[in-house]
């Protein structure tokens, strides 16, 4: 997932005419190393992975055999791909929406002056810095069926009579991974939204106040319009990131119980490196790519406007 967003106009460098060719050569020379590496570890592997979707490539086959849409037919007949797709969309929508709502609230809080604000701002980035396995452990421990804190709290307040093994139920596991991923990405979202709020001209707020605007009005009609571009980019970025999510889900639930939290990334990894059916995994990858291409295109278009 990417984080950088920019809206500044690119500078058109004034250059003496005769130097244009030398400039172009230096420019290409500088970009060459990155392009070579990019093609070797990103572009080629990507295209090659998509190509493999049309081959039968399992532990049983000595050489990959071209089978056209065979893998896709098998995916459809297995009947799992639709479920995986739905699980992925549910995860992405819930995690992105929750992260956005809470991240926005947190950004508004951090934008106000209070004692210790600098420290709170710094500390609140912590969830985002922790290794994903650690995040998974934290939440698995909080949600533990026997000794987890959530159970202890709910039992104390009489909400539950018996401890619940949250991660062993379908909806509990989904809620768990969504909570963990939300927790992990709130700092990032609020950092971006806070940067947006900080650039809101004070005069605009003051002018609205003079007109008698309340807090809600200031938020809805002054801050929100100002944040809009940031929000648009952030939602695309967040959705792309959640669509990629593997680590926390895998470490927390392994995609289970049964397939309740098996998102695309978990399915690809499982098909490719546990079942060793590279062709079928690649076919899942193609479906995944078709899902991702919409939001990614939006992002690309936004970015290229500035180049």
């Amino acid at each position: 997932m990417s984080l950088a967003i920019a809206r500044q106009p690119a500078r058109q460098a004034p250059r003496p005419g005769g130097l244009a060719r030398a400039q172009a050569r230096t420019g290409l020379l500088l970009v060459l190393p990155a392009m070579v590496v990019f093609c070797a570890v990103i572009l080629f592997p990507f295209l090659d992975s998509l190509r493999r979707a049309f081959y039968e490539d399992t532990l049983m086959t000595t050489e990959p055999v071209f089978i056209g849409f065979g893998n896709f037919v098998q995916l459809w007949e297995d009947g799992t791909i639709l479920g995986t797709w739905i699980v992925t969309v549910v995860f992405v929508v819930l995690a992105t929406a929750a992260t956005f709502a809470l991240g926005l609230a947190w950004a508004i809080v951090l934008n106000e002056r209070f004692r210790g604000r600098t420290l709170v701002r710094a500390l609140s980035l912590l969830p985002w810095v922790l290794p994903s396995t650690v995040v998974a452990f934290l939440w698995a421990w909080l949600l533990n069926g026997q000794y987890g804190l959530l159970n202890a709290v709910l039992l104390t307040f009489g909400v539950l009579d018996e401890p619940v093994a949250w991660l062993a139920t379908s909806s509990g596991a989904m809620a768990g991974v969504v909570a963990a991923k939300t927790w992990l990405s709130i700092p990032l979202f609020s950092a971006f939204l806070l940067a947006g709020l900080q650039s809101l001209p004070r005069e605009q707020v003051e002018a609205a106040r003079i007109d008698g605007a309340g807090n809600w009005h200031v938020f809805r009609h002054v801050a929100w319009p100002h944040l809009r571009p940031t929000i648009a980019v952030l939602l695309v970025l967040g959705a792309l990131g959640n669509l990629q999510q593997f680590d926390v889900i895998y470490a927390m639930t392994g995609g289970g119980p049964v397939r309740a939290t098996t998102v695309m990334s978990v399915e690809v990894q499982r098909q490719a490196f546990q079942a060793w059916n590279l062709g079928l995994a690649a076919a899942v990858g193609v479906v995944w790519f078709l899902t991702i291409v919409g939001p990614a295109f939006l992002r690309l278009r936004g970015v290229m406007k500035e180049a």
């Binding site: 997932m1 190393p33 572009l43 080629f44 650690v134 934290l138 695309m264 690809v268 992002r299 290229m304």
Partner: protein, 279 residues
């Protein structure tokens, strides 16, 4: 931005602050608290907030007999290597995109940025046989190279945003003084771009340090294991259901990147959100 003249505004603000601060902070607090608890205090239905009899046993356990130091070393080498490679490559490419005009510049940039939609797990399907063919499967070097995937496109774009805002006069002055293009990059652009470089380096480092997917797929030898899969497999294996040890190991595993982050936090957030908003 908000007005706290009314009592209800103060209450809503305080409540929002407390709820979100608790949501964000409590899991970390719980990790630390559990890590210092003796086993008898961990496996109870109604645990106490703080350890009644704090102990270092969990840490002694994971640092003494466990492979944690080994995993940390491996993570440090691969993530550090990836951060270095990514930053160097991204710097050259971003400087080229920001300062030079040539045919194919925009398509190359678009290609690089569009790579963000290539799913990491899908790339693995091809990276695995590729590294195998190169004899780099199950090596630190192979994992380091694979980690370039995570941050090269984003890093290039972040540095592009940074470089493009540097005043052109800076470079023109050096050029008139007869500096070479490389000299301009090294002596003019880089010294004023430290926050951007740190941001990209740390971004790349964190992705690699936090990674589980690539590490567990591309490396199988126990002695080459990194922190992510190391923790996970020990939890599935011998440390199973030993939550005290799991939390202590988690705490230790988090420290390096938390410390690195604390040192450069200010620059990092600036670099990351730079240009996210107009103005």
């Amino acid at each position: 931005m908000l007005d706290f003249a009314s009592r209800s505004a103060r209450w809503v603000f305080a409540a929002t602050f407390l709820v979100l601060a608790a949501f964000l902070g409590f899991p970390v607090f719980w990790m630390v608290s559990t890590a210092f608890k003796p086993t008898a205090e961990i496996f109870v239905r109604f645990p106490t907030l703080l350890p009644a009899a704090p102990t270092l046993d969990n840490f002694r356990g994971v640092l003494g007999q466990g492979d944690l130091p080994l995993w940390l070393t491996n993570s440090l080498l691969t993530a550090g290597g990836a951060a270095l490679l990514t930053t160097v490559l991204a710097t050259l490419a971003a400087h080229s995109f920001a300062r030079f005009r040539y045919r194919g510049r925009k398509p190359l940039m678009a290609l690089m940025i569009s790579a963000q939609m290539f799913p990491f797990a899908v790339l693995l399907i091809s990276l695995y046989p590729l590294l195998q063919a190169a004899g780099l499967l199950d090596t630190r070097l192979g994992l380091t190279i694979a980690y370039i995937v995570f941050a090269l496109p984003t890093g290039t774009y972040m540095l592009f945003s940074y470089f493009v805002r540097l005043p052109e006069e800076l470079m023109e002055a050096a050029r008139i003084d007869g500096a070479s293009e490389l000299g301009i990059l090294l002596r003019v652009v880089l010294p004023v771009s430290v926050p951007g470089l740190v941001t990209v380096g740390l971004y790349s480092f964190m992705w690699a340090w936090n990674d589980l997917l690539y590490a567990m797929t591309l490396v199988t030898s126990p002695e080459l294991r990194t922190v992510g899969p190391g923790l996970l497999m020990s939890q599935l294996g011998e440390m199973r259901q030993d939550w005290g040890a799991a939390m202590a190991a988690s705490l230790v595993a988090s420290l390096p990147v938390v410390i690195a982050f604390a040192l450069v936090q200010r620059w990092f957030v600036q670099g990351l959100t730079a240009g996210a908003v107009k103005g």
